[in-house]
Symmetry: C2
Subunit: 605 residues, 2 copies
């Protein structure tokens, strides 16, 4: 173990070693510095990532200096196969909750759910802080807020690129414009007493974006010249070579499909891909097509974006699905949710012939204009196959450039480093492998390995700079605190936030594998004998009606276990239950090689 010490050692109860569901990091992070002490009692600036590191989604982090905290983003992510039945996973904010009085603001960089989705579940716990974000971000957040009527009114402050805001005594943020695939994506230039931090948000360089302007490189260079201590940059695209594709290219390729198609064109994409939706609307208008929006979130986002002027369309372009059959097939474009193969989304309903008005036929075109979220590959393939099977023309991004990711790729990430020329690089947002790739790019750009912070959620990073006037002073030091803040993810299931823990998840896993087997036994307290034939309830194990013989054997076995146990003397129910669980479980396994959860109920009368 390498010893690390901190300037101040807070011993408050809000600090704890974070329980890690994955194997614990046995050593300090591989790329950290060796030993570092700020021995002049200097108060450090702390960076604490709460989510989005080593994972895709639930982005959230905080900056803390003295009694001021600035929070950036509050996203959720979707559960993976280990999280059966869970709706969403949100960051652990235990540390923030204890210090909520110190929160001077929560900045939402843009309106994607992995940056705003956790807000309704955290709002009260964080003391309903002041929120800052772009107009579209506010629109999306406010719309979603309506679904949570018990929550307090949002204190949302709309900001735009080039605005500056002061948070508490120590943080001053200058918002600046970057490209992504939703408008109003804001990156942050944050001045603090110890360091200047650039937080890129999700970003890419796009020289011909759909909405708004390209990144203003001159402005970025000017920011870089002011001196950037730490560049916290989006790693999501760090494993992709080259530059990300411009939305202009996407538009050109989509136009090829419009030009060729003589029938209905259906797009599957995310409701939050506002720019893509705008492109499709423009192309539809150019080719004389009406546009139908399908899916709740799609309709809702389109309304918000239209209202705010981020989606522009002619007055008569949009129609509703019940009007589809009033037009020739060649005059209809459908934009639907469900490109990830979600079983309940609009695209699946269309594929399943369950949609009331939209019926696809041979030679209609189906365009998947979104990348596949990891874990959804099989569902997407199945959905595509349903359309192929029906003879449709299916287009997806592996065939031609009809989708561009929203994230800077390797060359772009390198370019951002050159422009900002940071002292320290901190890869954020992305799988661990992406953060490592990002770090490798940093090293090729001359940032020494010891100045690259590859952190975990819950890590506490200290920044010290005795040379107050110079944000890129050679005296700047960073180190990990030996302690971490709680970072185990919080599971949202129905109304419960964090009420489903590992025990419940493990039970769901067992139930999912081989089901359950309840046996109810009535025992005469006096004689210790089984009173009536035991009741058996089983689900998810085998089909009982086909296995009457097995059930009869289990009943016999149960009676035998009860009588053997009670023969010894007074029946101890807990002991008897254990015996029943074990003996019946063993018996069922011998007969079936399945291991249902065996739950004996013993009732003494």
């Amino acid at each position: 173990m390498i010893e690390t010490t901190t300037a101040k050692k807070p011993r408050r109860s809000s600090w704890k070693r974070s329980p890690n569901p994955r194997p614990a990091r046995r050593t300090p992070p591989a790329l950290g510095p060796t030993k570092m002490t700020s021995d002049h009692g200097e108060e450090t600036l702390k960076i604490i990532p709460l989510g989005g590191l080593g994972e895709i989604g639930k982005n959230m982090c905080l900056l803390e200096y003295k009694d001021d905290i600035l929070v950036i983003d509050a996203g959720f992510k979707f559960p993976d196969e280990d999280h059966l039945g869970i709706d969403y996973i949100i960051p652990n904010t235990e540390y923030l909750e204890r210090k909520r009085g110190n929160i001077r603001g929560l900045i939402l960089t843009h309106g994607h759910m992995d940056h705003i989705g956790a807000l309704p579940y955290l709002l009260e716990k964080l003391g309903n802080p002041d929120i800052y974000g772009g107009a579209l971000t506010r629109g999306i957040v406010a719309k979603r807020h309506e679904e949570f009527p018990h929550l307090p009114k949002l204190k949302f402050h709309i900001v735009k690129a080039d605005d500056t805001a002061k948070f508490g005594d120590y943080f001053e943020v200058e918002f600046f414009h970057v490209n992504h695939n939703i408008p109003d994506d804001l990156a942050l230039f944050i001045k603090t007493p110890k360091a200047t931090i650039v937080h890129t948000a999700d970003f890419k360089f796009d020289h011909s974006p759909t909405n708004g302007q390209p990144i203003n490189l001159d402005h970025l260079r000017e920011l870089g010249r002011r001196g950037v201590s730490v560049l916290m940059a989006d790693s999501t695209g760090a494993e992709r070579e080259g530059h990300s594709i411009s939305e202009k290219t996407i538009m050109d390729n989509m136009e090829l499909i419009f030009r060729e198609s003589k029938q209905m064109i259906v797009f599957g994409t995310f409701a939050s891909m506002v720019d893509r939706i705008q492109q499709i609307v423009w192309l539809s208008e150019k080719y004389g097509r009406k546009v139908v929006f399908e899916g709740y979130s799609m309709k809702s986002n389109v309304e918000i974006a239209k209202e705010l002027g981020y989606i522009k369309m002619q007055k008569d372009t949009q129609i509703t699905s019940n009007q589809v059959n009033d037009y020739p097939r060649s005059k209809i474009t459908v934009i639907a949710t469900g490109a990830q193969g979600q079983s309940n989304a609009a695209l699946m309903r269309i594929a399943n012939h369950e949609h009331r008005f939209i019926r696809l036929i041979k030679k209609d075109s189906l365009i998947f204009s979104s990348s596949t979220v990891p874990g959804n590959e099989r569902a997407v393939q199945n959905l595509k196959d349903m359309f192929y099977r029906a003879g449709m023309k299916v287009y997806h991004y592996q065939m031609m450039d009809i989708h561009a990711g929203g994230h800077a790729q390797r060359e772009d990430l390198g370019h951002m480093m050159e422009v900002m020329n940071p002292k320290i690089l901190m890869p954020i947002h992305g799988q661990y492998s992406m953060m490592v790739s990002h770090s490798e790019i940093g090293q090729t750009k001359g940032i020494p390995e010891e100045n690259i912070i590859i952190a975990d959620n819950g890590s506490v990073i200290h920044l010290s700079n005795p040379d107050l006037e110079n944000p890129i002073s050679d005296k700047i030091r960073w180190w990990f605190d030996k302690r971490t803040v709680a970072s185990n993810p919080i599971l949202v299931d129905g109304l419960g936030i964090g009420d489903v823990g590992n025990v419940v998840l493990r039970d769901r896993q067992v139930l999912a594998e081989d089901g359950m087997f309840v046996i109810v036994i009535l025992i005469d307290t006096k004689t210790g004998r089984v009173l009536t034939s035991p009741d058996i309830i089983s689900r998810g194990f085998i089909y009982l009606k086909d296995n009457k013989e097995l059930l009869a054997q289990v009943r016999k076995k149960a009676r035998f276990v009860v009588e053997k146990t009670s023969a010894v003397g007074r029946v101890d129910t807990a002991y008897l239950k254990d015996n029943l669980r074990e003996e019946i479980g063993k018996f069922l396994f011998q007969k079936t090689e399945k291991r249902p959860m065996v739950l004996p109920v013993v009732i003494e009368v």
Copy 2:
């Protein structure tokens, strides 16, 4: 609906419309012919795919003419997320079982599990048929057979390329050599009275393969010149542009890693990738490394392949894992199973620090030399991240060519068509989208769309050829029978084959989502009153100890429901149970927005 008629209409009970778990095909396949009648009472040759069409895995098909049936392959596939708790999925052989007396042989094209895995579950049902396959295929099949001691002795006949075998009166098969990533992969040239069929097995062209020879193109051309009526060809690579990478390139790239590495090298790959394993052994020997094999199936396959001479290694190359620490780290190569991120495989045990002898440290090299099976993407990413996190060098096939698929890509598939010049193309093996892509290649090679058979599992394809002497006669016709044979997949779960059906799966799904809630109520038959406080057993719902208040409310609710129901008169238990299920379910949903499976048990005493 387009009418299709058949020469003969068998009305046997073994025919049935196959229940299709996915939306039914409402119209005949898009690419089928319109109307066709063999009106001269001609007996047709039937091709019936039982598995492997529109999916990856469980490959199996049969050819039938009069009373002779020839079966090709008997693979399984792994379940997807819809098949909770299931071990394997195997083809439905109901049709074959009824006609097992007619089976003249079962050919196993090669030793991969998606071609041989279902054998132990089908062997008895098919009447223990004579099996034909290569020596390595036999070795792998025989080894696995040992795990099923209750099965009859295998009747396995070893065949090799250029052998000819006669099956019954009507089928004559000439085996020929193709490349794949396991030795002894055999393609089939099948002469029948109605047609000559080439079945490619899984194949690719490799001009510099690891083991054995490249495909003998002259021989293939000679086969083609004899006249091929139907080319049944592997579609798995049909969506990949160009040619598949030669194993020589893979070897060269892997050597770069050997040359650079100064520490332990760990390979994750499939146990069945015999050729890849041979390459790694050769490289290890060249660079003075010992080789450790990890994982049960890896060790077992290596033993078989060594015995048969398909893996050649020097006498002292192989060591066991407990000898690892007797050598410097730079002298060790580990070849382990688990590159798909399987939680119980060797690679995961190593990543988790659970392996007794193999401990990885910073700068060790980890090489994923296998493609990711669809559905495993997230598990593989998580496994890779565990190694990245520990500071290892991770190599995977997206970074450099250290893995080649075993399947012909677009150019190669086109080449095979040119060589065989078939009358009819039947894409087999692969997702529906791959079969469609394969069909598109066929069309560019001049095969008209109506001569391309895109079928489903369970389709019955008739081939008629009144011009007996000419296998590529213009009089050859094919059509789909209006009926299909049973093709719903059979689920293997523990000892059960097909005992887990949709009801059980649906229950597992519900249990996996929100768990279950059993409430046991004792009722006094005379008074209709609840006798004692109801017992509650719940798993996978919420943690009961934290929710005592909710449980108290449920008990109260239950008592209320019982007394309200029994107030009406004599208690009908079924009716009472329904009421309890509904009321308690509703109540729990209101309180939690979760929907556990509610199971009331009413006991009258």
